[in-house]
């Protein structure tokens, strides 16, 4: 909550938010998938209540569909919600978008390249057009090789997503970016990925 407030208020350039439980499978009246309450949507509504925030662009690259987040923002035209998951969908107003991640075993190209190409095709242009005040990247590393949402991605792809999120936030909303940790179970991956992502946010060496 405080992270979004501080970025929205211009007190911080960007933030990385660790979590104790997931959020994107928590909807208005349901929860599951090891998610309890929808941290991102609560933070948006709190910041809006304080008059610090209007439009928000959310990129969800957790392995699974952010059904709870979608439930909470489905009627909110001031939230762009783009989810890379296992279905294709675009709402009539274009603010709610799902894109099916490529099936790794059906690819000629590398899974990393195919995934990054899909995200690049799906999100940055929409975010720039949407003109958000702030951007949220819901970062799950469960898509990594050997984790429970395995998309055969390597760490290079996930760090490539971080670079893309930073570039998009820079172009769309003056760099105002929240990275919110999502799924992923392996400690070795968390330790290998999170510090370099924060280093990128801060523009320092890991």
């Amino acid at each position: 909550m405080e992270g979004m407030d501080r970025v929205a208020a211009g007190e911080l350039r960007n933030v990385f938010c660790f979590i104790g439980a997931g959020g994107h499978h928590a909807g208005r009246n349901f929860f599951g998938g090891y998610c309890c309450f929808n941290d991102v949507v609560i933070a948006i509504r709190q910041a809006r209540r304080a008059g610090r925030l209007g439009r928000v662009a959310i990129l969800d690259t957790d392995a699974h569909h952010g059904d709870g987040t979608r439930d909470l923002v489905v009627d909110d035209p001031d939230v762009l919600h783009v989810c890379i998951c296992n279905v294709d969908y675009i709402s009539a107003d274009g603010t709610k978008v799902d894109a099916a991640a490529p099936e790794p075993w059906a690819l000629d190209a590398s899974p990393d390249r195919a995934y990054l190409d899909l995200v690049r095709k799906t999100f940055p242009g929409r975010a720039r057009f949407f003109h958000p005040d702030l951007m949220v990247w819901y970062f799950g590393f469960d898509t990594h090789q050997g984790d429970y949402g395995d998309r055969v991605l390597t760490s290079e792809a996930l760090l490539g997503l971080a670079d893309m999120a930073l570039d998009t936030a820079h172009e769309a909303c003056r760099g105002r970016l929240l990275v919110v940790l999502g799924g992923g179970s392996r400690a070795d991956l968390a330790t290998a990925l999170i510090p370099p992502i924060i280093a990128r946010l801060a523009g320092v060496s890991a």
């Binding site: 405080e2 992270g3 208005r28 929860f31 309890c36 929808n38 209540r49 909470l72 400690a187």
Partner: protein, 77 residues
């Protein structure tokens, strides 16, 4: 941690030690290496570490129906 740089240019990290004891999955100690793994980063004047505050029921109700609170509290996971 002291900072000689305006917060407006800084990166914030929001973390709580409880996240490293039991995080996300029941068997989850995925953040067991934290906050130690952040040590080199938080030496930077461009990075500021914050401890997450507990969320209030009032804030939860901005997004969720009231029955969600006791149901989450009763959830074994």
């Amino acid at each position: 941690m002291t900072r000689d740089r305006p917060l407006g240019g800084a990166t914030g990290i929001f973390y709580h030690p409880s996240f490293s004891r039991r995080s996300y999955l029941t068997a989850g100690r995925r953040l067991a290496d934290f906050p130690d793994a952040l040590a080199p980063l938080i030496e930077s004047p461009h990075v500021k570490l914050f401890e997450c505050a507990p969320v209030t029921d009032e804030l939860i109700l901005l997004a969720h129906d009231p029955h969600m609170i006791p149901e989450v509290e009763a959830d074994p996971f």
